[in-house]
Amino acid sequence: MSEREQLRGLLASTCKNIETFGNAQSFLEKIGSIQQACLIAPASLPDMNARELISRLKREGKYIPVIVLGEDCEMPRVVSLMRAGAADFIERPISKHRLKAAVQRVLK
């Protein structure tokens, strides 16, 4: 099972609308039509890393909170991601409780 499917399952009871994208570009193409939302993205995507995606959203004036997923991360990198504007950072393996709390917090 892909992580996308796994996340869908974990969040099924928390969120009504869940959309998944295989890369940053396909998300960015869709984002114009997205209203109140949050984005869950791995620290590195096939086409750009989470940091670049966050800067890009900021530059384009899209205020979507981004929850970043990562593993074996070094603290300076994680802190720098948070400084860059990530709304949250969750270490893999992802705990359902932690993920739900993070989504609920940023969507509030």
Binding site: P65, C73, P76, V79, M82, R83, G85, D88
Partner: protein, 206 residues
Amino acid sequence: MIEQSVFVVDDDEAVCDSIKELVESVGLHAQTFTSAQSFLDAYPVDAAGCLILDVRMFPISGPVLQQRLKEMGASLPIVFITGHGKIDIAVEAMKAGAVDFIRKPYHEQALLDVVNKALEQDAKNRDNVQRKKLLADRVASLTSREREVMELLTRGLTNKVIGVRLGISVRTVEVHRMRVLEKCGVKSVTQLAGLFAEAPEDTPVR
């Protein structure tokens, strides 16, 4: 300009001393505390500066002190330093608004850079608060009629239209207009509108 202090809270006295020495070497003022409680006892809520804060301390840890300060309405920017690099603690501290989270042993120049950034942020926060207060004071000094006139003025309406809207003569609008500009300390409606446009919004919560 109010003098800013670099407050240091770390239960390791040697760390306190070396940070004090470091920040004083670049001409900044430092105050050190070896417990969160002694800092709370001495700290005036509106003190200017920033706080370098250790994570693991007993009985009040760095993150708990951060929470307390937030509850007290203190806006002092916080830089965490820690000997134990737990990711989730760093993430929580950043979510709660810390400026940075640095691991010990810290690089001296890197710490000074972050301290400077935190002091800049503090100055900006203070400036925003002051401007908001000044504006609020000015608006509070207006009568309710003057406030109505002001709102319509800043929406770009002419004296004539305002007079019709409020059911008063153009001459009376002119008098109110003059008082509004006088009380707000501006020379024109453009400047008046600028005053409100400049009023900084609260920083959005991440």
